[in-house]
Amino acid sequence: MTTASVPLAHALMLAGILFALGLAGVLVRRNILFILLCLEIMLNAAGLAFVAAGSYWGKPDGQVMFFFILAMTAAEVSVGLALVLQFHHHFRTLDSDAASRMRG
């Protein structure tokens, strides 16, 4: 499009920061849905990294990878949300700590 010269490093750093933020969200939220949401943030950050790298090389491979990530995300979200529904039906709550029967 234009001759933007954002350093690759910056883009990747941004992806890392977004990933770390998503990770923090996964770890701290107790509601399963929020956990899934933050998981999406992490996946998105990974996709950003791929696209940035692809753009750096000028190849479409980065976007191809992003495409695959998206497909996987879609499948994962559908199954995951179905599981969330079952979870809610079974435990009557969305507290992820409620499902801890596999304790040591």
Binding site: L23, V26, L27, V28, R29, R30, I35, S96, D97, A99, S100, R101, M102, R103, G104
Partner: protein, 635 residues
């Protein structure tokens, strides 16, 4: 014609074969008795045959060796299963097999109604086999094998009636106390092997004489350790506490093991290795001292006992003290002579006592017996023969000649002296005193308990044979004033026997006669005193003890065998039990328990990480990833 000497190996092998048969098979009761008695009987027959062959046509150097194979093949100093027959060994072999056979025959009837006769005869056969190995071994290690074997059988047989825990305790006590001696003997073996490079007895004596100067530490150490081993097995001071308690076993056991054979193994060992003792005069003197002290302590203890078998047990300790006394002054021939006669009369006394005990329904207390000479005349006359020999009744008994030989050697030898002889004389007085106390209490006076049965043939025959031997066996060695017959000492000292040459008497015949007369008078005085104290005026003793409390305390002190048991209990048993109690939770176990505890706590800690919560696991994964990244980045 087979040279009978080549069958030497049969003599120990036959009882051992009997043991194996009795252990592996299950014969009938009669079969058990037949095998048990027969194996020893055959061994005795072979032994007698060998003895006759040996006397008729003695082999060169009066020693016969037979090797049954190599045991420990060390280059240059192999240890073999070797048998060695020379006059002392022949004497011991005959004593062990013949007296052993008579005792086995006796037990065939005496133990007939017992349960466990298979176990009994198996142990007795194993014992005779092990004792023969001990006697005939040509090297110290093989001898030690027999030594240990007799210790084991002693344990098995003392605790024969194992349902009673007291018998088990007595057996354990015997084993543990003799173990002390056995440990010393092993140390002696190690010392001898490392210093002299061999355990073959003849070579040991030769090399020791060549390499160790008189009185050197090695010789003194070896001799002292061997003495300690002998002291343990022969129940001398300070390891004599086990023998009175060993009377918990059946009477044949007491007769065979604790009168005739095992307890004399110590005497035999010292006589065998006497060359070492000649290199250590201090140890020789120690032997004499041990012997003298033991005979006095034991004789005084025997005077106060009520149990007939305990009297005989202390008497055994005392008589072996005489043998040690003889060894200490160098009179090995006299020691072996007394060993032989003692085997006869002490076995006889134990067997007869066993008949009395069984006939009176397991009554051991002398004061509950009485007047048995009218009820059991055969037992009485044989017992009297044995008692007379024990008390050394002059001229008619073998005991007199053997004891007199010892006393004369002690008096006249330059290693002896007046005080040792005096101790022997006092001991002789005490011996005849307690012996005839026993005779008068049990066989004279009013009948307090009626005997329930008479002995049969298999009991009576051994008693009669032993009685004859107790009286007649002395005539092979008579002192100078009585004819100077020296058959035994010539036989024992012949050829290259391992014994030192018997000392020629340094006194005149008259002095010898005087010493002999003193011995005779002392014995008769003892008999008379016993008659007066316990038959004529039985209440005198009681009155004396009631009036003088010191005498009563003395009696109790002697009854407790000079409080050795109490002393050992204080010094050894209680501290050991205290330590064992402290270590009840075994510090070695603590290590393993600690390992288990550490595992369990680690398990607990790890289990707590399995919370089942998703976020926790995610945290774990994330932390791990961060850590790996950090490592990849930094390293």
């Amino acid at each position: 014609m087979v040279d009978l000497l080549d069958c030497l190996w049969c003599v120990p092998a036959l009882p051992l074969a009997g043991f194996l048969v009795l252990v592996c098979l299950r014969p009938s009761k009669a079969g058990i008795r037949a095998i048990g008695v027969g194996s020893v009987g055959l061994a005795a027959a072979v032994a007698i045959g060998i003895g006759l062959t040996f006397l008729a046509s003695p082999p060169t150097g009066f020693c016969f060796r037979q090797s049954l194979g190599i045991w420990i093949p060390l280059k240059g100093s192999e240890t073999c299963f070797g048998l060695y027959l020379d006059p002392p060994a022949l004497l011991m072999m005959l004593v062990v097999t013949c007296v052993g056979f008579l005792i086995h025959l006796y037990s065939a009837e005496h133990m007939a109604r017992e349960r466990g006769t298979r176990r009994f005869f198996a142990s007795m056969n194993l014992f005779v086999g092990a004792m023969l190995v001990l006697v005939l071994a040509d090297n110290l290690l093989f001898l030690y094998l027999g030594w240990e074997g007799v210790g084991l059988c002693s344990y098995l047989l003392i605790g024969f009636w194992y349902e009673n825990p007291a018998n088990g305790r007595a057996a354990r006590k015997a084993f543990v106390v003799t173990r002390v001696g056995d440990a010393a003997l092993v140390l002696a073996l190690i010392l001898i092997f490392t210093q002299l490079g061999t355990l073959d007895i003849r070579q040991v004596l030769q090399r020791a004489a060549a390499q160790w100067p008189q009185g050197s530490t090695a010789a003194v150490a070896a001799a002292a350790l061997i003495l300690a081993g002998a002291v343990g097995k022969s129940a001398q001071l300070p390891l004599q506490t086990w023998l009175p308690d060993a009377m918990a076993g059946p009477s044949p056991v007491s007769a065979l093991i604790h009168a005739a054979t095992m307890v004399t193994a110590g005497v035999y060992l010292v006589a065998r290795t006497y060359g070492l003792f000649e290199l250590a005069p201090t140890v020789q003197f120690a032997i004499a001292l041990v012997g003298a002290a033991t005979l006095l302590v034991a004789a005084s203890s025997a005077l106060t006992q009520r149990d007939i078998k305990r009297v005989l047990a202390y008497s055994t300790i005392s008589q072996i003290g005489y043998m040690f006394l003889a060894l200490g002054v160098g009179a090995c021939t006299a020691a072996l002579f007394h060993l032989m006669t003692h085997a006869f009369f002490k076995a006889l006394l134990f067997l007869a006592a066993g008949v009395v005990i069984q006939a009176l329904h397991e009554e051991h207390d002398l004061y509950a017996m009485g007047g048995l000479r009218r009820r059991m005349p055969l037992v009485f006359w044989t017992f009297l023969a044995g008692a007379a020999s024990l008390a050394a009744l002059p001229a008619v008994t073998a005991g007199y000649f053997s004891k007199d030989a010892i006393l004369w050697a002690v008096f006249s030898s330059n290693r002896g002296g007046f005080w040792l002889w005096a101790a022997g004389v006092v001991g002789a007085f005490l011996t005849s005193l307690y012996t005839f106390r026993m005779v008068f209490l049990a066989f004279f006076g009013p009948v307090r308990k009626e005997p329930i049965h008479r002995p049969g043939f298999r009991v009576s025959a051994p008693l009669i044979v032993l009685a004859i031997l107790s009286l007649a066996a002395g005539w092979i060695e008579l002192p100078g004033f009585a004819g100077g017959v020296r058959l035994l000492s010539r036989f024992l000292g012949s050829g290259v026997s391992l014994l030192p040459a018997p000392e020629s008497p340094t006194g005149s015949h008259g002095l010898e006669l005087a010493v002999g007369a003193v011995s005779a008078l002392i014995c008769l005085a003892g008999v008379a005193a016993a008659w007066w104290l316990w038959l004529a005026r039985p209440r005198v003793v009681r009155a004396l003890l009631d009036r003088r409390p010191t005498w009563e305390r003395l009696r109790r002190f002697w009854l407790a065998s000079w409080a050795f048991d109490a002393l050992y209990d204080r010094i050894f048993v209680q501290p050991y039990l205290w330590i064992a109690e402290r270590n009840r939770a075994d510090w070695v176990d603590d290590f393993y328990r600690g390992v288990a505890r550490a595992n369990v706590s680690l398990h607990g800690a790890l289990s707590r990480t399995q919370t089942g919560r998703v976020r926790w696991y995610a945290l774990g994964m994330a932390a791990g990833a961060v850590l790996l990244l950090a490592m990849a980045v930094l390293l």
